[in-house]
């Protein structure tokens, strides 16, 4: 192992430390090996880069005054902020699209309600009309009456289905909002 290899390996092993600690340690050991009469003997006496790095990291961890090895945590936070900043222009349209989709779904649901209402009203009308027409021509009257029954039945079915969907989604929504409020309140 050459001096450069030793220092490179040491730097790699110290990478979790604050940059200042890495720089100091590497410049110390570069100079140390440059000052040695016999570089190879000096490296052998120091031990492997792993041992040297282990002692440096252990000493820093034990010293409350020293800068702690919080680099990873700090990095994570700063990464999150950076990611959020970069994601914002993407997330905003996505959030808007989700909102639009929800509104569209609501509109479809309301339209289906209107359809079921129309079926019911129309069905009731056909029933009356069919009943009245039966006096003149029984077949036509019965057909119209039957159509009225069909319309009433399908309207009723549609309404029942829609009410179920509506209730389920409403429950889900209130539960979601409720848990959001509760978890926010639970936070200190």
């Amino acid at each position: 192992m050459t001096r450069t290899e030793f220092i490179t390996e040491l730097g790699r092993l110290l990478r979790t430390l604050p940059q200042e600690e890495i720089d100091r340690a590497l410049s110390y050991y570069s100079e140390y090996l440059a000052d040695a009469e016999d570089e190879n003997a000096a490296m052998a006496a120091l031990g492997s880069p792993k041992e040297v790095a282990g002692l440096i990291i252990a000493a820093l961890a034990a010293d409350p005054k020293a800068a702690k090895t919080r680099k990873t945590g700090g990095m994570r936070t700063s990464w999150m902020v950076t990611l959020a900043a970069f994601a914002f222009p993407v997330l905003l349209p996505v959030a808007a699209a989700v909102c639009v989709c929800l509104i569209a779904l609501l509109a479809v649901l309301l339209a289906l309600f209107a359809v079921s209402a129309a079926f019911l009203i129309l069905g009731a009308g056909y029933l009356l009309l069919g009943f009245a027409a039966m006096a003149q021509d029984f077949a036509i009257g019965a057909a119209v009456f039957g159509s009225g029954l069909f319309l009433l039945g399908s309207g009723w079915l549609l309404l029942a289905g829609l009410t179920r969907v509506w209730r389920a989604s409403f429950n889900w929504l209130t539960r979601r909002i409720g848990s959001l409020i509760i978890s926010r309140k639970a936070r200190p």
Binding site: E31, Y32, D35, A42, A45, G47, E51, V52, L55
Partner: protein, 105 residues
């Protein structure tokens, strides 16, 4: 050597050696290795700790076309050295008492 200078005792030795004369890393390490038999890789962490405690500071001296970093004692380092030297003398006396009298009284 069965008894080793570690921790605070090694700190005291580094302070004392630097107090004697300003010294660069390799020379200090060789001196302490020769006198105390400490392992070479244990010296840097001690020096770094003394720097963070402001007991040591550094200056560069040009040498062979590069800089050699010398360490010297600060005022705080001098205080720390005196305090630790007192502690050491106290400790040494306690040990001596036990060794000589056997019961520590």
């Amino acid at each position: 050597m069965a008894i080793n200078a570690t921790g605070t005792l090694l700190e005291l030795c580094v302070l004392a050696a630097v107090a004697h004369e300003d010294v660069y890393g390799y020379a200090l390490t060789q001196l302490l290795k020769e006198r105390l038999g400490v392992s070479e890789s244990t010296i840097y962490p001690v020096m770094r700790r003394l720097q963070t405690q402001h007991c040591l500071d550094m200056y560069d001296v040009p040498c062979d076309g590069r800089n050699r970093r010398y360490y010297r004692l600060t005022a705080a380092g001098r205080q720390q050295l005196d305090a630790l030297a007192d502690e050491w003398i106290d400790f040494k006396e306690r040990i001596d008492t036990i060794l000589l009298k056997g019961d520590g009284k």
